[in-house]
């Protein structure tokens, strides 16, 4: 089986088979990451650019290293968010990049749908590294990879996503991905941070952790953006931490071997207590490593197949 698509814009339009293929391919990639000499020549001669309209350290670095480990040349373009409306249009930027002979554009943007727009402008492949509150497919893939690695499966697991669901692209991509793979997904957060009709995406909605965290196998804790409080979506950081911050008391509600994930960066002590973040259930650091492996797998499946076989290299 192959990934027969030009772009990776979201998990909504990926099939369970495609997701499985990506996760399977990420396993040998992770093995490469463990080597002393990490570089393989699979994507030699290919070029990858990261085009980030939002600040990011881990996702961009993760993509760049993934491309470099596979032998591709990389470049990065950071665009100040504030100048987006005054500055060059996405269309013109896209054309400029295309003219430089780029094969893959990895885009992060504050506006939902920006990667879709970009993919209409360019022949290069487009990978969505997060668009507004829409999707963040590689984050969800690395989350699923981490869960599968630790639990041995995805199907039948109860996975809770905790926090600001309304503004979270991580939540949406995880819901699509996990439900396709047969997991039960719950979303937990205050009603003001819950988008309308999210149950239609296949997730069960809970407002109280006592109900939502009961017997779950996995808890994915979302970062809370502190400025939401100023917009009147919850009364105070203090109350948010009391009601939704994952601490040891709340953790006891879940299964004894529960896994705790967080896409990062963490507001330490706000959405997750230091004890849990640094405790035995947390796999937050492992997620970062898996992120590189999953992104290597994606780049390989999109561009590398049929040339030199990395798996036996």
């Amino acid at each position: 089986m192959d990934l027969k698509r030009k772009d990776i814009l979201g998990l909504q339009d990926l099939s369970a088979e495609e997701i499985e293929l990506i996760l399977d391919t990420a396993e040998p990639m992770k093995e490469i990451l463990g080597r002393d000499l990490k570089k393989v020549p699979t994507l030699r001669g290919h070029s990858v650019v990261t085009l980030f309209y939002e600040p990011s350290t881990r996702t961009r670095t993760s993509f760049e290293l993934a491309a470099k480990y596979l032998g591709a040349d990389t470049a990065s373009i950071a665009v100040a968010t504030s100048s987006v409306q005054k500055g060059e249009s996405l269309r013109d930027t896209a054309k400029t990049i295309e003219m430089m002979g780029i094969d893959v554009i990895i885009i992060r943007h504050s506006a939902a749908g920006a990667p879709h727009l970009l993919s209409r402008y360019v022949k290069a492949r487009v990978i969505n590294a997060g668009d507004g509150a829409h999707e963040h497919p590689t984050q969800a893939l690395l989350d699923m990879f981490t869960i599968r690695e630790k639990k041995g499966r995805l199907s039948g697991l109860k996975v809770a996503i905790l926090g600001d669901i309304a503004h979270s692209r991580v939540a949406r991509s995880n819901i699509w991905g996990l439900t396709k793979m047969g997991a039960e997904v719950r979303v937990i957060g205050p009603p003001t941070l819950m988008p309308p009709d999210i149950h239609k995406m296949g997730a069960r909605v809970f407002y109280r952790w006592e109900d939502g965290l009961k017997d779950v196998d996995v808890i994915n804790v979302l970062r809370i953006q502190l400025e939401r409080q100023q917009k009147g979506l919850f009364p105070s950081i203090r109350e948010y931490t009391r009601l939704y911050g994952l601490d040891e008391e709340k953790l006891r509600c879940a299964k004894p071997d529960v896994l705790v994930l967080h896409p990062g960066p963490v507001n330490r002590g706000i959405e997750i207590s230091p004890e849990v973040q640094d405790g035995r259930h947390a796999v937050i650091n492992e997620q970062v490593k898996n992120g590189v492996a999953v992104r290597m797998a994606l780049l390989y499946l999109l561009m590398g197949r049929g040339e030199e076989d990395v798996l036996t290299a």
């Binding site: 987006v84 269309r91 506006a111 749908g113 879709h116 949406r172």
Partner: protein
């Protein structure tokens, strides 16, 4: 100059009927209506099988001049109107500068002197459309406005709207209300619901419209003002208007073709041509709007023609301006989706696009009657064509209907006895 329309189906709004007859136009007026007319010397246009309707009026469009001529001008907008089958348009006042002074109204009227169809300007209700202080309403009336509106913006302050209504009641002036609670809609780019959740786009709830519809009705009831609700989009607005009419409140309402033909599902592709305010809503809303049209709760179909320059729409969804270029698709959309599907009769459609707008705006009666002005829209119900935005004469190519095949197109637009559009082609650059 004499024109003889041969063999058409004359739409009679008074008798709610359609009869086969020829129509003779002479000196800008309708001179005779009867079968088998002979008029030696008259130019004869065969219109067999076509409906001869009183001239359509678009009572809600944005011609963008002065100030945003890259989007549209009064000339290009009225040419688009003529091509779309409209014999008159009502121009909203959210121009730059806004139409809150006599000077701007006079400018618009002067620019419209060379336009193919007449333009009726709307004056702003408040200075600079800020919703804070009354515009010089008396002066605007003398300058020739047909209604007041801050369209594009609501008047958020209820006290200000109350005073606008009270003050304008001395002129019995129509107030066209853009109903939107801007706190509830802030930052929203589409209908709030499952699709907005799916796309991660900020939603605009129905309540943002319905709260203002209810408020404006209450204020109209209190002040006795004449209220017209612009671009109704939400199912919950319809019963509010229906019940107000039953109580005798002087309220009328309009709906746009795009709110009748599209739902929020159209946004899934992130096509910015679907970004419009109020937003495209759901099938249940469309159904309620159709019910409202059928039972007379909604009086008018108007385009809310909102042209934009291509580069403005060719951006991320969040950054694109709201609006659809609607003048050149309204008639075929409504024929195809409402008349051909049996939701409205041809007479009802003509009532909503010609008879009622004239009545609400206080313009001369729109009816195909001897002695009336020869303003006519002729529709071929058998003509099937595909919408092509490249062929629009409007500068605004921002239509989500590009590529739609539609049945029932305007084939003649006649203003004051002169043909300004024939079979989709503009035939008259200037109106004397």
């Amino acid at each position: 100059m004499c024109l003889l329309l041969k063999g058409g189906l004359v739409v009679d709004l008074d008798r709610n009927s359609i009869k086969k007859a020829d129509v003779l136009l002479e000196d800008g007026k309708i001179a005779a209506i009867q079968p088998g007319l002979k008029a030696p010397g008259a130019q004869t246009i065969p219109v067999e099988g076509c409906y001869i309707c009183p001239g359509f009026i678009d009572m809600h469009c944005h011609l963008r001049e002065p100030g945003e001529e890259m989007k549209e001008t009064i000339l290009t907008g009225t040419r688009a109107a003529a091509r779309g089958g409209f014999t008159a348009v009502v121009a909203m006042g959210n121009t730059r500068p806004p139409a809150d002074s006599r000077a701007v109204i006079e400018f618009v009227k002067r620019q419209a002197e060379t336009a193919p169809v007449p333009v009726y300007p709307v004056g702003c209700a408040t200075k600079e459309r800020k919703g804070l202080e009354l515009a010089e309403i008396g002066d605007l009336v003398e300058a020739g406005i047909v209604a007041l509106s801050d369209d594009g913006n609501p008047v958020m302050n209820s006290e200000v709207l109350r005073r606008v209504m009270e003050y304008s009641s001395m002129f019995d002036l129509l107030i066209i209300s853009h109903c939107e609670d801007t706190h509830l809609s802030a930052g929203g780019v589409m209908h709030e619901g499952y699709i907005s959740t799916l796309l991660g786009l900020r939603g605009i709830p129905r309540a943002a419209e319905e709260i203002h519809v209810a408020r404006d009705i209450i204020l109209a009831e209190m002040t006795g003002a004449r209220l017209h609700i612009a671009h109704v989009s939400s199912a919950g607005s319809v019963p509010l208007i229906r019940e107000a009419k039953q109580r005798g409140v002087r309220v009328t309402a309009e709906v746009t073709p795009h709110h009748l033909c599209l739902t929020d599902e159209a946004v899934i592709t992130f096509d910015t041509n679907t970004k419009v305010n109020p937003p495209l809503r759901t099938p249940e809303d469309v159904e309620a709007l159709c019910d409202g049209l059928q039972d007379g709760t909604i009086d008018v179909i108007a385009t809310d023609h909102a042209p934009h320059a291509p580069e403005e729409k060719d951006v991320e969804y969040n950054f694109a301006p709201f609006g659809i270029s609607g003048l050149e698709t309204a008639v075929p959309l409504m024929w195809d989706r409402l008349v051909a599907k049996g939701i409205l009769t041809p007479v009802q459609l003509v009532q909503k696009m010609a008879g009622n707008p004239a009545k609400i705006l206080g313009l001369p009666e729109r009816a195909v009657k001897v002695g009336n002005a020869a303003d006519l829209t002729v529709i071929d119900p058998q003509l099937k064509q595909t919408v092509r935005v490249e062929s629009f004469v409007s500068k605004g190519k921002n239509s989500p209907f590009n590529g739609w095949e539609l049945l029932g197109w305007p084939v003649l637009t006649i203003v004051g006895g002169r043909v300004v559009m024939s079979e989709g082609k503009l035939t008259f650059g200037e109106r004397s």
